[in-house]
């Protein structure tokens, strides 16, 4: 029998021992900080912005003025990369939040209702699973137009399925525990039992899956931007920058290399942190 209170504490201690996860967490915090406060500082200090073009200036290789170089339109690539990181992280986080929210609620309700309702709700998930889901996103984006808000809603709408299955499995076993019956005996409503007693006890797996969803969402957004369905110019995203850089990589190598490195290191860090959390929250690791 695992004690969830000490489990959180033990998990935290285990996570702190995982150097890779700790470094990744700090790295992500640094990237988030730079993406949030970098662009305004760059703008006020050097007058760089992500959209003001200086066509006569043209593409410059990296220098002390422009550490990432400039793009074809003479825009500072460092500023554009930070902006792109902003968009990518935002899309990744919000899409993963939408997915976690829908998936948790759907899975918990399905498992708690049980029986025929559970079967029907899970068959619906199976059907959605069977659809090629990038295809679904492309259809949603073409129908509802290309806006940032719709982009993460569309991504979130098609990626809650796994969360729903994970949460359903957890709740199925939790709802047989006596504390749920005790809550029923005390006169708690179904909504209260799901919200106060079941979902809080599934938070561990939800958090782990959430941290692993964020990088995959960033990757999906990059892929959509690569197809021209994501963020629209002049707004950059890491995917759009890499797409642009890939077109010019033979001559202007820095346009591909720097956004590529930033994106790859963000993805690595998020995955390392997710893996670290998964290991830390796994009760089977308790002996170590």
């Amino acid at each position: 029998m695992s004690d969830n209170g000490t489990l959180w504490h033990d998990a935290w201690m285990r996570l702190r021992k995982n150097k890779l996860a700790v470094v990744s967490a700090w790295f992500i915090a640094g990237v988030v900080f730079m993406c949030a406060f970098g662009p305004p500082i760059l703008h006020y200090a050097w007058g760089y912005s992500y959209d003001a073009q200086a066509l006569s200036y043209g593409a410059q290789p990296p220098s002390l003025n422009h550490i990432f170089g400039t793009d074809f339109h003479g825009r500072d690539l460092f500023t554009r990369t930070l902006y792109g990181g902003r968009i990518s992280l935002l899309v990744g986080l919000l899409a993963a939040l939408v997915a976690a929210f829908i998936g948790t609620l759907y899975g918990a309700v399905s498992a708690y209702a049980g029986g025929q309702i559970d079967s029907a709700m899970m068959r619906f998930v199976d059907v959605l699973y069977a659809l090629p889901y990038m295809f679904l996103v492309i259809i949603l984006v073409t129908i509802f137009g290309k806006s940032l808000a719709l982009l993460f809603i569309a991504l979130g709408l098609v990626s809650w399925l796994t969360t729903a299955r994970i949460v359903r499995g957890q709740v199925l076993s939790l709802k047989e525990r006596e504390f749920v019956q005790a809550a029923q005996a005390c006169g708690a409503s179904d909504a209260r039992i799901i919200g106060m007693h079941l979902i809080p006890n599934t938070l561990g797996p939800i958090i782990v899956y959430f941290t692993l969803t964020v990088p995959s969402m960033i990757l999906q957004e990059a892929f959509l931007s690569f197809l021209g369905l994501g963020v629209q110019a002049p707004m950059p995203s890491l995917g759009a920058l890499i797409n642009e850089g890939a077109n010019n990589m033979v001559v202007f190598w820095w346009q591909l290399v720097f956004p590529g490195i930033v994106m790859a290191s963000i993805l690595f860090a998020l995955n390392f942190l997710g893996d670290g959390l998964r290991d830390a929250l796994d009760p089977r690791m308790q002996q170590q």
Binding site: E178, A182, A185, C186, G187, N201
Partner: protein
């Protein structure tokens, strides 16, 4: 005689047995088969029987944690068998449950204060301002420190957790508390403490217990009356002293014979011993369920389901004959 607090009439609870690809219903487990019981205000009724005989199912059906498949449940004269929604939730205040496993029955994510306080606020028995005082009061009553309120369940031992479970049940000032094997998961020394606590709490208020147990020594100590179940049916109901002195049903006699003895060497009345295994409740034996194991069975036991016969005004037994006393 005044009206019973809980009056259960011909209660039935069946579980479908499904099998095959289409999950077709191939039979039913008759977990509770036409049980009738009354619990008086302030009384402790013990429901005993071996594992799988349906005693927990019966008790849970009586307090509406499970839905009955037949019969009626009257609580203070009101039919609660088919109450739904808000009416059911309001009624739950009056009948609370203390569960068997103190580790599973407390939500690990909630503090003791939340566990005990939430039901009180939910039922309007306390307001945000006086809930704290009431909770501290309750903790003292169940023998815990009042400043435990902000702690989480994992910080407590099994016995302390069971006290928290009892405090949660008492928080709603119920007339009936169903104790579902409430002490069987605890150490023997702690069992005694919890049982004495339950008895003390009952003395302080007019509260009835429905005590589900398989430990007859415990039952003998706490119960006013005992109901014995075998494979979903009641076989004998009697006041505790009378049941232990003068068990009429062969199954009850076998149960008593199986009790651990304080003085194993000292000779005592030799009671009936049962052979064989408990039959599957999916296809129980015909007639009297006990006949394949009963040492005094007759031919008619195979076909005749005996009715409950009153031995005296408060002792009923379900057996085809009066047993000769094997003194």
């Amino acid at each position: 005689m005044n009206t019973p607090l809980l009056d259960v009439q011909d209660l039935k609870k069946y579980f479908p047995v499904r099998s095959g690809l289409l999950r077709r219903v191939v039979g039913h487990v008759h977990a509770v088969d036409e049980i009738s019981l009354q619990i008086m205000p302030g009384e402790t009724l013990a429901l005993v029987g071996e594992s799988g005989c349906g005693k927990t199912t019966a008790a849970r059906t009586m307090v509406r944690l499970l839905d009955a498949d037949g019969g009626r449940i009257l609580f203070r004269g009101q039919d609660i068998t088919h109450l739904e929604g808000d009416a059911l939730r309001r009624m739950r205040r009056h009948m609370q449950v203390v569960f068997q496993d103190p580790y599973a029955s407390l939500n690990p994510r909630r503090t003791v204060g939340e566990i005990i306080g939430a039901p009180m606020v939910l039922h309007g028995l306390a307001t945000a301002s006086d809930v704290n005082d009431k909770m501290r009061d309750l903790l003292v009553q169940v023998g815990l420190q009042p400043d435990y309120l902000s702690r989480y369940p994992h910080e407590f031992s099994g016995g302390q957790r069971q006290r928290i479970g009892i405090a949660r049940a008492l928080a709603l000032e119920p007339e009936l508390v169903m104790c579902d094997e409430a002490v069987s998961a605890l150490d023997v020394s702690v069992q005694a403490q919890i049982i004495n606590l339950l008895a003390d709490l009952q003395a302080g208020r007019s509260m009835s217990y429905l005590f589900v147990a398989h430990n007859l020594s415990v039952v003998r100590h706490v119960a006013h009356r005992v109901a014995v179940m075998y494979l979903g049916r009641l076989v004998e109901v009697a006041p505790t002293a009378e049941l232990f002195e003068d068990p009429r049903h062969p199954y009850t006699q076998a149960l008593l014979a199986a009790m651990p003895k304080a003085h194993p060497v000292r000779p005592r009345r030799s009671f009936v011993r049962l052979g064989g295994e408990v039959p599957s409740p999916v296809s129980p034996p015909s007639g009297c369920h006990l006949h394949p194991r009963c040492p005094v069975a007759e031919a008619r036991c195979k076909t005749l389901i005996p009715a409950l016969v009153a031995v005296n005004s408060c002792h009923i037994v379900r057996c085809v004959k009066e047993l000769p006393r094997t003194a």
